[in-house]
């Protein structure tokens, strides 16, 4: 019996060591914490250093909210969703800045956006008046546009290590070879050291192994109409932006989808019903079927690249 107990103890010790290596919570503490969380979810978010998004369903999925000491990845499948992705990331930043700004009226830590040359060329530069209307403080916004990805990574690491920015946003295009698991792990560790969040915005990128705690895939949804003071909707108008999010990477087994609306005036997210319509599907770019491969000849050469746009016949 005593032997069995010793073995158990060694097993627990090993599990704890592994948990520490992986930067996760020690399993023995997790059980206690879960019991506590059931009583007071607010305290739990604070203890885990999470930023609650203010939507209970989402916060539960995120174990309290967006991590304040780690890496969160947002990715879009197509470059045309760049505007929407920018909006969601900036909404998170506004939430963060608001959190700090409420306590101290004058100065809060700035948000640092590390841009990418190609994205800046295609999707434009941040615009102060737009940011202001979106709920951010333009004077507490820094924008870096380095020439190379290595420089961008260096800025991100330096910024995280200094702990000066309230949030660091790193924008990359696609899945660059120089930004793999090693680099993202390095950034995540830096973020953990100083307790500052890093948001990775991957424009037009594929799923890739990274050390992000959570990864969202984002696409836009048609905006609702503007709400009038009496509760009715103003026909034909374009209201607050809507984000259709899929939680691709988390501790949850199944991906979770939900639609959020950002209200810049109140700086808060609203969860919408899943019945929100999506954009009408684009007609397939090339509707004509290709001939089937011949049996008596070698196969045709593989296609290169992907077809981005194709003229419509009519």
């Amino acid at each position: 019996m005593a032997e069995h107990a010793t073995a158990q103890e060694r097993l627990f010790a090993l599990r704890e060591t592994i948990a520490r290596l992986e930067g996760k919570a020690v399993p023995a503490l997790v059980a206690a914490r879960q019991a506590k969380a059931a009583q007071a979810p607010q305290d739990m978010a604070k203890e885990l250093r999470r930023l609650p998004l203010g939507v209970p369903a989402v916060d539960n999925a995120l174990e309290g909210g967006m991590p304040l000491d780690g890496l969160t990845e947002i990715r879009t499948a197509f470059f045309r969703d760049a505007g929407s992705a920018t909006g969601f990331v900036l909404a998170l930043a506004a939430l963060l800045q608001g959190e700090h700004g409420r306590k101290e009226e004058e100065v809060s830590n700035p948000v640092l956006w590390i841009g990418d040359r190609a994205c800046a060329q295609e999707a434009g530069l941040p615009y102060a008046l737009g940011l202001m209307q979106f709920g951010l403080k333009p004077r507490q916004f820094l924008y870096a546009l380095p020439r190379k990805l290595e420089d961008a990574l260096w800025i991100a690491e330096t910024a995280l290590a200094s702990g000066a920015p309230a949030a660091t946003i790193l924008e990359v295009r696609g899945n660059p070879a120089h930004f793999g698991l090693t680099e993202s792990r390095r950034l995540a560790l830096r973020a953990k050291d100083t307790g500052r969040p890093l948001i990775l915005l991957r424009q037009a990128g594929d799923e890739e192994a990274s050390s992000a705690l959570f990864r969202f895939r984002l696409e836009p949804a048609p905006a609702l109409e503007r709400r009038l003071p009496d509760g009715s909707m103003l026909g034909g108008s374009i209201g607050h932006p809507l984000f259709r999010l899929t939680l691709e990477k988390s501790r949850h087994p199944a991906p979770l989808s939900f639609t959020l609306e950002w209200n810049p005036r109140d700086r808060q997210f609203d969860l919408l019903q899943p019945s929100i319509p999506s954009f009408p599907a684009l007609r397939p770019a090339d509707p004509v079927d290709r001939f089937s491969a011949s049996a008596d000849r070698p196969d045709r050469p593989a296609e290169m690249g992907t077809l981005v746009a194709f003229d419509r016949a009519s």
Partner: protein, 471 residues
């Protein structure tokens, strides 16, 4: 082709400057001739001038082959004028240069003494006698003037000095008198240094030259500590610093670094250079090491002593400044930027980017100073509006239904607008057409900010442009 410069051997066999090359070859067929390269000569002279910075910060280049050093107040550091001159000449001689040098009370006399008289320090006792015996060519006059003076038998400066001044001006012009006054020191002649004089400067001479980056940074910190009393006495902190590294073989490196706010802390000054050194790592060749390190303050601002508060507010803005400094030092001024809001209703003029270092330096303006009342503005604005083609829109001022942008046809699902923005007619040359802005939601899910420039006219449809994207 003519000879412009000769070495000792060539002088010994009787060649002279200005001689034709063919003639010289006829005298001595085995001449080794190198084509003149004035740019390289100049660069070399600049390098020597840089090296001379070790004696005084006031170094001026004199014509093609001379340097003027203002050693006022510097001589005692090297053990007197005689010792200073010997040191300069000896070191340059060891570098393989044939140099003549003289020290006198003013530039005109030292120029003449160096080129035409006895080299060395001109002492007060024999100054008058020496000046009188110098040839008229030592007056820095044009060649024509010198030869016409010589035709009149005026061979020495003393001959001119004994003449009445008025007839001299009438015959030879005022230039002669000016030069005469300059050689006797009756007229002040300023030396214009090639570089601005630093406000503060401190240096360290190493007995053992240093090569390694860590050592350089360590010594930089030491030197920065020596600057501290000077900065404190002025109540200032440095904004722009210059680190000068004198290599043992005479080459001088200058590294400039800028801080976003006035600095005094030696550690942070050294940290500025640590990023700069990493950025220029390949260009900095330590060779056999650096023997002198000098730190100059080129620009300084008032330094506000801040007492640490309990909430750590001051500390936080200090870390931000440190971050900005590091990025600026390593990647340049324009990489990290902040916003500056301008009161203009033309969208692209209302918000401009400024280097973050400048933004921090001028201090934060209050957030409430700018009230914007207008329609919704996009989150991202294109650097230049992009023209769209084949627009079908409601005439005269409705939103578009369909347009072609970036090689793709976009169908508009919903539109908001127009918001009309006129040009700033109260400014000169700002007579552009009016713009009607629309917010569009297109079929692909993008929300675009698009405008029509001008109105519909006969045979001339207006242009449509996409200027930004919304969330």
């Amino acid at each position: 082709m003519r000879l412009v410069a000769l070495d000792e051997a060539a002088e010994a066999i009787g060649l002279r400057r200005g001689q034709g090359l063919a003639e010289a070859r006829a005298i001595h067929p085995r001449l080794d001739v190198i084509e003149e390269d004035p740019a390289a000569d100049r660069a070399f002279l600049e390098a020597v001038a840089d090296w001379c910075d070790r004696y005084t910060p006031l170094v001026a280049i004199d014509e093609e082959d001379g340097l003027l050093l203002d050693i006022t107040g510097c001589a005692h550091l090297f053990g007197g004028e005689e010792a200073l001159l010997n040191d300069v000449l000896l070191r340059l001689f060891q570098m393989g240069l044939d140099v003549r040098g003289a020290i006198a009370g003013w530039p005109g006399l030292s120029w003449a003494a160096c080129r035409f008289g006895r080299c060395g320090v001109v002492v007060d006792e024999d100054r008058q006698g020496m000046t009188a015996t110098l040839p008229v060519a030592s007056l820095r006059l044009s060649e024509d003037l010198v030869s016409s003076l010589q035709k009149f038998g005026l061979k020495r400066v003393g001959d001119l000095l004994s003449l009445p001044r008025a007839p001299l001006v009438r015959r030879f012009g005022s230039q002669v008198l000016l030069r005469l006054d300059q050689i006797v020191g009756a007229v002040e002649e300023p030396i214009s240094p090639r570089r601005p004089v630093p406000l503060l400067s401190s240096e360290r001479r190493q007995i053992e030259p240093i090569q390694v980056e860590e050592d350089i940074l360590h010594v930089t910190e030491e030197v920065a500590r020596m600057l501290l009393p000077g900065l404190e006495a002025r109540g200032a902190g440095g904004r722009v610093f210059e680190l000068m590294l004198f290599r043992v073989d005479g080459r001088v490196f200058r590294i400039e670094a800028e801080a976003s706010r006035p600095l005094r802390d030696p550690k942070r000054i050294a940290a500025l250079f640590s990023e700069r050194l990493k950025a220029i790592h390949d260009d900095l060749d330590a060779g056999f090491g650096f023997e002198i390190l000098r730190l100059n303050v080129l620009q300084h601002d008032d330094f506000q002593l801040a007492q640490g508060d309990f909430e750590g507010q001051g500390e936080r803005s200090a870390t931000l400044a440190e971050l900005v400094d590091r990025v600026t030092a390593r990647l340049g001024r324009n990489v990290l930027q902040g916003f500056d809001l301008r009161e203009s209703h033309i969208p692209e003029k209302a918000s401009v980017f400024l280097p973050a270092a400048d933004g921090l330096a001028e201090g934060r303006k209050s957030e409430t100073g700018f009230g914007f009342r207008g329609g919704e503005r996009p989150l991202r604005l294109f650097r230049y509006p992009e023209q769209v083609e084949t627009v079908t829109a409601e005439v005269p001022d409705g939103p578009p239904f369909r347009f072609r942008w970036r090689r793709m046809v976009h169908e508009v699902l919903r539109a908001e607008g127009p918001e009309r923005i006129s040009s700033e007619w109260w400014l000169d040359n700002q007579d552009e057409a009016e713009r009607d802005y629309f917010r569009l939601e297109v079929r692909t899910g993008q929300r675009l900010w698009i405008y029509r420039r001008g109105h519909y006219h006969e045979n001339q449809p207006p242009g449509w442009f996409v200027q930004g994207i919304f969330a």
